[in-house]
């Protein structure tokens, strides 16, 4: 077991590719991304077979990497006594407006869920319990935690289980043998080396994709990354798989959520946890307008979109009305924030705001692709294998199965580990060495090209291209400035410009290794954005207003679109095609009710 620490940043300026060191590691199971799901892949794989060599390629440092780096205040799903996994699937289905969703995946995840959360508690995560020792529920399914240490707790267990962690290695591409995945490659952002991980199977658990869209706070200020999703999760896992032909599912079901305004903090903490109702500027209860859809318990996308509809109708701003909260409740709410998004407490202090006198303002977030929240991600089978043999997905990267959150991503990590082990046990052919080394050389050239061009090259910086993309997506592919609406013509416009950006990758330049990481991230963002736009184009209806709103097709069209929208990119030509897959209801009951 080892947590291989990175070094301090080094300054390298290679004049040619030959000066860039290549380091190769051989392993059985490679995990790309040591986050919530990735840590559980590692612990489960080592538990099942301690002889396996399990390696984690980690972009940051595993103790504080990714979306859980700031901590967590709640686990949104834990099946209470008297409820069943089927009940959880019914709830998840109702939350996404009756589906479609992959009920096969949802059910298998639900069956694994509580055990994964019990693991976390055994590992030292404080779960809040009442005086009788019973877990304290915040809502119907979600429980409160003091999760400031959630990430280090998971990371320590992965290391203790015997996983080897390569920190500060940024995944850039998969290693393929014919159509099968046999490893991955990455950029050592501290050591300046090109890292090659050869593996029998690979789990991609890189998290979702924030930063594809412009945030309304990114107004040429010091607030460029002031978004709800971790801005260092840029969708690289989706991009790596997509470029090699792995099928993506449901990216049009973007995750848009009501968040605190001007500082994109969580709102369920207040509105669900502390029953602070959503009101508009006229003091009207906003969700009462949606009583026929469940009111305060309406599906998540309706709750997300409701405050924005108020703004559009001239009744904004909107608030979570905290004015009637008792002081001990305020203290508890602040503690929740300190556990998940501590700087929100600092934000309120910076506004000098007493929430019992002035309610907390809310607004819609920028859209994210997150298969652990909504369901954009790889199409996977029950083993969590993508359509590329040898490549598995878990957590935010695995699609079709929304409302996983922390517990579900952990559970899915275990399922993917079992799937990968079963795949390896079936016996694998030895890869074609010539083909593997050719790929290593071409990927190395692709990844390092911006650094070889150097900072004085008359080209494009990674930030310039990122911001061009974010503005394009915001205005043409349904960002927050457009109240999430788009249409066929705007999407065609977005696609034309995405093609131009792809053709301009050849102008990207990087001054140092950090810049080089950003150049590669930006290329990943553009490739994922292309898939998102194809998904939005293919769903010619409005099924989940806010998450997915087509102004030219404002209604739901069950005859044509009660199904999954899929995309695949041809690895040889780069051409993206969209198609559908049927939805299958497995758990009986009214699809629109929990």
């Amino acid at each position: 077991m080892a947590n291989r620490k990175a070094s301090r940043a080094v300054d390298i300026a290679p004049r040619s590719l030959a000066e860039v060191r290549t380091e190769t590691v051989e392993c059985d199971l490679l995990i790309i991304g040591g986050g919530n799901a990735g840590c559980f892949v590692a612990t489960e794989a080592k538990r099942l077979d301690p002889s396996l060599r399990v390696v984690i390629m980690e972009k940051a440092e595993i103790m504080r990497s990714g979306a859980c780096s700031a901590g967590m205040d709640a686990l949104n799903t834990y099946i209470p006594e008297g409820k069943t996994p089927e009940d959880l699937v019914r709830w998840s289905r109702a939350q996404v407006g009756g589906g479609p969703l992959r009920e096969d995946l949802a059910l298998s995840n639900a069956e694994e869920l509580n055990e994964a959360i019990d693991d976390l508690e055994r590992w030292g995560l404080p779960i809040l319990r009442d005086e009788n020792g019973k877990i304290r529920y915040r809502g119907k399914w979600d429980i409160s935690i003091h999760g400031e240490q959630l990430k280090p707790i998971m990371a320590e267990k992965a290391i203790e289980a015997g996983a080897e962690v390569y920190n500060r290695v940024v995944g850039t591409g998969l290693l393929m043998d014919g159509g099968r995945c046999v490893g991955a490659m990455g950029l050592g952002v501290r050591d300046g080396a090109f890292h090659v991980f050869r593996a029998k199977s690979v789990v991609v658990s890189t998290g979702g994709a924030g930063t594809l869209y412009k945030s309304y706070t990114a107004d040429s200020t010091d607030s460029g990354a002031q978004i709800w999703m971790c801005p260092y999760c840029v969708g690289s896992g989706y991009a790596m798989g997509f470029r090699q032909g792995a099928e993506l599912s449901s990216l049009e079901q973007r995750w848009v959520a009501t968040r605190t305004k001007d500082f994109c903090g969580p709102v369920d903490t207040i509105s669900v946890g502390y029953k602070a109702p959503i009101i508009n500027c006229k003091d009207e209860r906003v969700m009462s307008r949606y009583a026929h859809l469940g009111g305060d318990a309406a599906p998540r996308f309706i709750r997300a979109n409701a405050p924005m509809e108020e703004w559009l109708a001239g009744r904004g701003p909107c608030y979570c009305d905290t004015r009637n909260m008792a002081p001990e409740l305020v203290q508890a709410m602040m503690t929740d924030y300190l556990n998940e998004r501590p700087s929100f407490v600092l934000f309120l202090a910076s506004r000098g705001q007493d929430v019992t006198k002035e309610p907390i303002e809310i607004y819609g977030s920028d859209p994210y692709i997150m298969g652990g929240h909504t369901m954009g991600g790889f199409w996977v089978d029950m083993q969590r294998m993508t359509t590329v043999p040898g490549l598995f997905a878990a957590g935010e990267t695995a699609g079709g199965n929304p409302n996983k959150f922390v517990g579900g991503c952990a559970a899915e990590g275990k399922l993917a580990a079992r799937g990968a082990i079963a795949y390896m046990a079936a016996g694998l052919e030895t890869p074609d060495e010539a083909a593997v080394s050719a790929q290593v050389e071409s990927e190395k050239a692709r990844v390092f090209a911006p650094l070889l061009r150097g900072k004085d090259y008359d080209g494009v910086t990674p930030t310039e291209m990122k911001e061009r993309l974010q503005r394009l997506m915001d205005e043409y592919a349904g960002g927050s400035s457009q109240f999430y609406r788009t249409n066929e013509e705007r999407l065609d416009y977005a696609l034309r410009h995405i093609k131009m950006l792809q053709s301009q990758f050849a102008y990207l330049k990087a001054a140092d290794l950090h810049d080089l990481m950003q150049a590669n991230e930006t290329m990943d963002r553009v490739d994922v954005a292309e898939a998102v736009v194809h998904h939005l184009k293919a769903r010619r209806e409005t099924r989940w207003a806010g998450w997915q709103t087509r102004s030219d097709y404002p209604g739901r069209d069950d005859a044509n679109f009660d199904c999954f929208v899929e995309t695949r990119r041809d690895p040889a030509t780069g051409e993206v095609t969209a198609f559908t897959r049927p939805y299958e209801q497995l758990v009986p009951g009214d699809r629109f009710k929990a």
Partner: protein
């Protein structure tokens, strides 16, 4: 301007293979400047304000600040890390101080039990 380095306190974690803040930052934003020997943030607008660096600093030499465009001057939030507890001290722009302290870890049994433990 999210992480603000108190240069009089920062020693760049001299002697360590990697400074605590550059180790912690999920965005690879913290770096120790070769010329000054002090930590700095490469690009404040890329900061998520997750406070990982602030928690990790052994000399309390990093303060997280909300960008002025979003929040006024000046409030502070200081984490003090204990073994199984965390304490936060928050001062708002009017000088009102609030302290929060709670358990962030449960004591756990060693993962591998020996016969002796049983």
């Amino acid at each position: 301007m999210p992480p603000r380095i108190l240069t009089e306190k920062c020693n760049g974690c001299e002697g360590l293979p990697e400074s605590r803040c550059e180790e912690a930052c999920p965005g690879n934003l913290m770096v120790v400047d070769a010329a000054t020997g002090k930590a700095r943030c490469r690009c404040t607008r890329d900061c998520w304000d997750c406070m990982s660096c602030t928690k990790a600093c052994p000399r309390a030499a990093i303060e997280t600040r909300i960008p002025y465009q979003l929040g006024y001057h000046k409030a502070s939030l200081r984490p003090i890390m204990g073994k199984e507890h965390i304490t936060w001290k928050c001062v708002d722009i009017h000088g009102v101080e609030t302290t929060y302290k709670y358990r962030n870890r449960l004591a756990v049994a060693p993962a591998i039990r020996t016969d002796k433990d049983a």
